[in-house]
């Protein structure tokens, strides 16, 4: 009897000791691993890269990093899966159309609660750090990139010069579309001189460049603030004179054969078409380093004709992609700490952007980054180049071809952009999610046809807008106006 009791006591004591040992907080010898999902459009991270990142993070933070490359298509398929199933994930990027869903599904953490851990970020952005605020939920933090998205026409320099044009010949702004006549003239000349070429092609035209002309208030413009957001009345931009003019101009180009006849089903971007050699021009959002960027993408030197003037600083533009901490993060304090550090570490941004220094890139004498001796895009181990979704691409190096002070140029451009009156306002579409879903479907159906002039604007615009209203456009407009007014009053 005694014997048994002694054994029991001893066993209980032993168990207690073991259990207490088990439940002790994670001892400091196991560093916290941050699961960092980032946009990956280049190749997968090499082992050297992973090692380099781990070394850096250990040195400066005492944490290790598990890099999770997410391609564009992964973002729509794999990422929601990871978030919904509780996979290990600390930090991810979120595109603006998903904010309401991610918040409602509780995929991400409210960054407002972690202001202490993110002081450097606030230091970097000032007020703008809080631009991702919906109600009292801060979705995450913006990245350092161009905040306004003007539109420009990218043209091939060789033919442009050959025909005797110069960029100064063109004077087009968002308000005055008469300048487009000159472009029509240009296309006609191109067609005459080079009948085998397509003057205008690609996947974007003016009507689709919503970030340049309006504040789309969170989606493709189902109810927007026209005039670059300098109004507080929410209207249907697709019924506006400006949109109609864009459609008519494109209609002329299409019927005269300046635009590719397959443009409505074309899935190749303008730069791909130009690279193939038979396209003269395409439209795109421009930034200070667009010319060298397009040149390297197409292999041709280009000129850029500005079409819209600056784009407004809109919430949609700034919050196009935010960096958030996922609910799956085991230690949210540490996750935010890491995020904070990521904004300040030039080395980290360089690693993710260009790879390992000395192996994938070297610093040239201009102070920018370039390929090492003997390496090129095909043979280098890692090269991502998705700087716009990195925390702070300009903390690191700029790629060669762009000036070393590109970050300053971006800052200057951002200064120039005028903020939309709704800057800081994020629309919560959950109550109209059904309508938004249908509007998406209608928009998909008509966007290219109208913007590229495939459909006759007289008939097409009416059809398009009728379909939009049938899908519940007015409900969405009213809801947007209501929320906007509320937000404006609260300011």
């Amino acid at each position: 009897m005694k014997h048994i009791r002694k054994t029991l006591v001893a066993a209980t004591a032993a168990t207690a000791i073991v259990l207490s040992g088990c439940s002790a907080p994670a001892d400091d010898s196991t560093p916290y691993e941050v699961n960092f999902a980032y946009l990956n459009i280049g190749g997968a991270p090499t082992q050297e890269l992973k090692d380099a990142v781990n070394e850096l993070a250990m040195d400066e933070l005492g944490m290790t990093v598990n890099l999770i490359p997410i391609s564009f298509s992964d973002y729509f398929t794999k990422l929601p899966l990871m978030l919904a199933s509780g996979d290990p994930l600390d930090i991810t990027f979120v595109f603006s159309q998903d904010f309401p869903t991610f918040i409602n599904s509780q995929y991400i953490v409210n960054a407002n609660d972690y202001a202490d851990q993110t002081k450097d970020i606030y230091g970097l952005f000032g007020e703008d750090a809080g631009v991702g605020q919906i109600g009292d939920f801060l979705v995450g933090f913006p990245t350092v990139k161009e905040l306004s998205s003007p539109t420009g026409l990218v043209v091939r320099k060789d033919i442009f010069d050959e025909l005797g044009y110069s960029v100064d010949d063109f004077d087009i702004t968002a308000e005055d579309t008469s300048g487009y006549d000159k472009i029509t003239e240009l296309f006609a000349d191109v067609k005459a001189a080079h009948p085998e070429m397509t003057p205008y092609d690609g996947t974007f035209s003016m009507g689709m460049q919503v970030f340049s002309y309006i504040d789309p208030l969170g989606d493709s413009g189902y109810g927007a603030l026209e005039d670059k957001g300098q109004t507080t009345k929410v209207t249907n931009w697709f019924e506006s004179d400006q949109y109609r003019e864009f459609a008519e101009i494109n209609r002329e180009w299409f019927t005269k054969g300046y635009t590719s006849q397959d443009v409505a089903v074309n899935q190749d971007e303008g730069q791909v078409k130009m690279k193939a050699g038979n396209t003269f021009s395409f439209m795109t959002f421009t930034k200070p380093d667009s010319a060298p960027e397009k040149a390297s993408q197409t292999g041709y030197e280009v000129e850029i004709i500005p079409l819209s003037g600056y784009g407004p600083k809109s919430t949609s533009g700034s919050t196009a992609g935010l960096l958030s901490v996922a609910n799956n993060a085991k230690d949210k304090d540490k996750a935010f700490e890491f995020l904070n550090w990521a904004y300040t570490s030039g080395e980290f941004n360089d690693l993710l952007n260009w790879g390992v220094e000395g192996v994938d890139w070297v610093e040239t004498e201009d102070g920018v980054a370039g390929y090492p001796e003997g390496k090129d895009p095909a043979s280098v181990g890692y090269h991502n180049g998705a700087g716009f979704i990195l925390p702070n691409q300009f903390a690191g190096h700029v790629w060669s071809g762009s000036p070393a002070n590109l970050g300053d140029q971006y800052a200057a451009a951002n200064e120039e952009a005028k903020a939309s009156k709704a800057y800081g306002f994020l629309f919560d579409g959950t109550s109209v999610s059904g309508e938004l879903a249908q509007l998406n479907a209608v928009y998909e159906q008509y966007k290219k046809q109208i913007s590229f002039g495939v459909l006759d604007p007289d008939k097409g615009l009416k059809e398009f807008n009728d379909a939009m209203y049938a899908a519940g456009l007015q409900t969405v407009i009213d809801e947007k106006q209501r929320q906007l007014d509320e937000w404006l009053d609260a300011k």
């Binding site: 459009i41 280049g42 997968a44 999770i68 391609s71 564009f72 298509s73 992964d74 973002y75 729509f76 398929t77 794999k78 899966l81 919904a84 199933s85 509780g86 996979d87 595109f95 990139k145 161009e146 998205s149 996947t203 974007f204 689709m208 919503v210 970030f211 493709s220 899935q267 190749d268 971007e269 730069q271 791909v272 078409k273 690279k275 193939a276 050699g277 038979n278 795109t284 959002f285 421009t286 930034k287 667009s290 960027e293 390297s296 993408q297 949609s316 533009g317 196009a320 992609g321 895009p377 095909a378 180049g385 998705a386 716009f388």
Partner: protein, 291 residues
Amino acid sequence: MYKQSRTYRLLAHTALLLVTLSMFLPLVLVFMSSITDESTLITDGYSFWPQQFSLDAYAYIAANSETVFRAYGVTVIVTIIGTVVGLFLTSTMAFALSLPELPGRRVLSFLVFFTLLFNGGLVPAYIMWSSLGVRNTILAYILPSLLVNAFNVILMRTYYQVTIPAEVYEAAKIDGASYFRIYFQLVLPLGKPILVTIGLFIALGYWNDWTNGLYYVSNPDMFSIQTFLNRMIQDIQAISSNNTGTSVTSNVPAVSVRMAISFVALLPLLIIYPLLQRYFAKGIMVGAVKG
């Protein structure tokens, strides 16, 4: 062979040849596109005899040959294991359900069929398989959704019901054979044609599947051929339809490379498939003898 009228034979062969041509033609197009110069492809579109040839696409693949070969290896292993195991599981169920006097047959058949219609969706399946630890293993390709499929079970069951006469079972039972013996020694051999056919479908299912790889495999060393190819294509589509207000440097592989990889993914099938036809022929012999 009994005598068939000559007109019939002529018509039949003409029809079949036309059909065969129409099946092969697009494949030829794919191959031709893969050896067409990239700019010509974009300018002139796809054609059966391109203006300019180029082996660049295959050079690109050869440069990545390590990845491609490894992807092949993965796909082959997965297909073989998956088909053998899947075929076994499918045929046992089909056999069981084909026996008219099996108690509970109607309920069991319904339970099998029900799975074809109602589906819990990707997320629960993903959570479950992940928690079973299949991620980044070969099982990730084999287990989720492809191994046994009520469609195949029901098709096979119909075949067994129609082709295996009751007398065969009775004779076997009189001999004192258990259902095990009946299955292995009678049903399987008699049902060779359906085994080959369904086996082919299962194998194709595995060979062409790209979703399991997408969801459960993140280690590039473990990519299958289809995962690899489809990632590329999906990225391209996502980039061009996504308007985030910035222009992205798209590292887009050439159209011809896409075609080349499609062709490369097909090649083993084109080679193996005729070889399999031998088993089909054998089945014919068995069926003929049966009479």
